[in-house]
Point group: C2
Chain length 198, copies 2
C-alpha cells in the first residue's frame, strides 16, 4: 500500500468509528428515555445501534458514561477559550470567554440536551455523576486561571461563579425551545448572579 492509501484507510476508519459512537449514543438516549436508565442493558443499546457489546465497550466504560461523553469536549473548549482570552481580561472575563467558546458546541444539540437532562434528573446516581463532572470542570477552570497568574482564592471563586452561571443558564436553556437562546440565557444568568451577590 502506498502512504496515500493508508491515510485514506485511516480517515475512513475514523469516520466509521465516530459514526459508531454517535449511533450508540443515539440508541442509548432513546432507550433510557423510553424505558428508563436502570432498565436498559448494554446489550440492548448495542443491538439497537446494530453493533456488538464489544464495540460499545471500545467507546464507553459503562452505560452511565454514554451520557457524559461530551464532557471532555465541553471542558476542552472552555479551557481553550480561557487561554485565548486577552491578557488584560479579569479572571471572570476569562471564565466568560470560555463559556462563550462553549456556546457553539451546543448550537445544534438542544433536542439531545433536553432529553439527556430529563434522563439525568430522573436518576440520583446520574445526578451525582453530573455534579462531579461539573466540579471537575470547575477544577480545570481554576487551574487554567492559575496559569494566567490569578491568585488561589480568586481563581477558585471565579471558577465556581462560572459553573453556577453555566448550570443555571443551561437548566433554563434545556427547558425552552430556541437553540439560539444559549448565549442570552447565560447572560441573564450572569446578570442575576451579579445582582444576587451585590
Amino acid at each position: 500500500m502506498t502512504l496515500d492509501v493508508i491515510k485514506y484507510a485511516v480517515r475512513t476508519m475514523a469516520r466509521w468509528e465516530s459514526d459508531a459512537e454517535g449511533r450508540l449514543i443515539k440508541a442509548a438516549i432513546s432507550l433510557y428515555d423510553k424505558q428508563g436508565f436502570q432498565e436498559t442493558t448494554v446489550a440492548q443499546i448495542a443491538d439497537a445501534a446494530g453493533l456488538t457489546k464489544r464495540t460499545f465497550f471500545r467507546y464507553f466504560a459503562d452505560k452511565r458514561e454514554v451520557l457524559f461523553s461530551g464532557s471532555h469536549e465541553l471542558q476542552d473548549r472552555w479551557i481553550a477559550g480561557i487561554s485565548a482570552a486577552a491578557a488584560a481580561a479579569s479572571p471572570m472575563e476569562a471564565v466568560l470567554a470560555g463559556l462563550d467558546a462553549v456556546a457553539d458546541l451546543f448550537a445544534d444539540r438542544l433536542p439531545f440536551a433536553a432529553v439527556r437532562s430529563r434522563i439525568v434528573a430522573a436518576n440520583p446516581e446520574l445526578q451525582e455523576r453530573e455534579l462531579i463532572k461539573l466540579q471537575n470542570l470547575a477544577a480545570a477552570i481554576e487551574a487554567a486561571l492559575h496559569q494566567r497568574g490569578v491568585p488561589d482564592n480568586a481563581a477558585a471563586l471565579a471558577a465556581q461563579a462560572g459553573i453556577a452561571v453555566f448550570h443555571v443558564g443551561f437548566g433554563r436553556w434545556v427547558s425552552q425551545r430556541d437553540p439560539a437562546a444559549f448565549r442570552p440565557l447565560m447572560a441573564d444568568s450572569l446578570a442575576e448572579l451579579k445582582s444576587v451577590v451585590g
Copy 2:
C-alpha cells in the same frame, strides 16, 4: 421502676451512645490519618474504640460515612439560620445568616477539621463524596430560599454563591491555626467573590 428511674436510664443510655459515636469517629480519623483510609477496616476502628463492629454499624452505614457524620448538623444549622433571617433580608443576606449560624459549630473543631480535610484530600472517592454533600447542602439552601419566596434562578445562584464562599473560606480556615478565624475568613471569601463577579 418508677418513671424517674426510666427517665434516668434513657438519659444515661443516650449519653453513653453519643459517647460511643464520638469514640468511633475519633478512632476512625486517627487510623485513616496514620495508616490511610483504604487500608483501615471497620473491625480496626471498632477495636481501637473498644467497641464491636455491630455497634459501629448502628451509627454508620460504612467507613466513609464516619467522615460525613457532621453534615446533617451543618445543614440543619445553616437552614435554621436562613429561616431565622429577617423577612426583609435579601437572598444572599439570608444565605450568609445561615453561614454565620454554622460558625459556632466549628469553634472547637479546628484540629479535627484539619486532619479530616487532609484525609479527604488524599482520596478521590472521599473528594467525590465531599462534593456531593456540598451540593446536597446547596439544594437544601435553595429550597429554604424558595420557602422565603425567592424566585428559582436567584435562589439557585445565591445558594451556589454561598457554597462557593463556604468552600473557599473553609479551605483557608483548615490550613491555618486560629479557630476564631472562621468568621473573618468567610468574610474575606465573600469580599473576594464580590470583587471577582464585579
